[in-house]
Amino acid sequence: MKARLIALGCGLLFGVGLCVSGMSDPRNIIAFLDVSGTWSPNLAGVMFGAIAVHASWLRFRAPRNPVNAQGSVPANGKRIDSALVGGAALFGVGWGLAGYCPGPAIVALGSGALGAFVFVAAMAVGMLLSEGTKWTIERSGKPSAIPR
């Protein structure tokens, strides 16, 4: 119950941050990506503000073992593989087309815009298709990696 309330509060805070910064509006995203047009640096400001707070917290304030540590915590691996780069490139193309990444798209549902619902539904389908694939391209060639 407590974990759910914390999640609700964090989601709300995250969403308010996206709205306050203007990042829930796809036009502002496109304006940042449009380097040769009317470029706006705001998205860089949002990333800077978010990383400054979160990195400082992790460095100076966060407990070594967080409460309820159970989620999937990335091991900060260094393996750069084709799934990482290829997936990021596909995401970038979609992001550049629509001006929505996953967070702002969920926030945009709250405005009731039909386009936001279409986008989020398609995004969910894309996620399920992707999660159904095992993206272990480098490892698949090594028989030793397959448990017998």
Binding site: G37, V46, H54, G87, G94, I106, G110, A113, V118, V125
Partner: protein
Amino acid sequence: MLSALIGGALIGASASLYWTFNGRIAGISGILSGALLNDGQERWVRLMFLLGLFAAGVGFALFTNRVPAPTLPLLPLALAGLLVGFGTRMSGGCTSGHGVCGLSRLSVRSLVAVLTFMVAAALTVFAVRHMLKLWVPS
């Protein structure tokens, strides 16, 4: 620019609280796919985060009367959604998971992912808006 910095700081605070009190990474693509694929408590925690995001959107629409409407027709919008969903789960993160959380953790993988999707997105905008001259806002 000030509102961008303040909004960013709120996002960073959200990621910090989520990590400290729930032990999870505040990456929205991972939260959404986790909500789709898990059940029980694991699903509920993620659904509540998404509900918070949605509620912020409802509040913003009510108070500002501004609709952050998409700028392109529904069919290409759906294609973009497919690409975003597929790509983020293939590379294991989006602007929040790789961008905010990964860069804050000094993850090399996240840095590579962020540089890749930023360049791909900027090239896409250039191709669509300046070469094909599609969906240019008037």
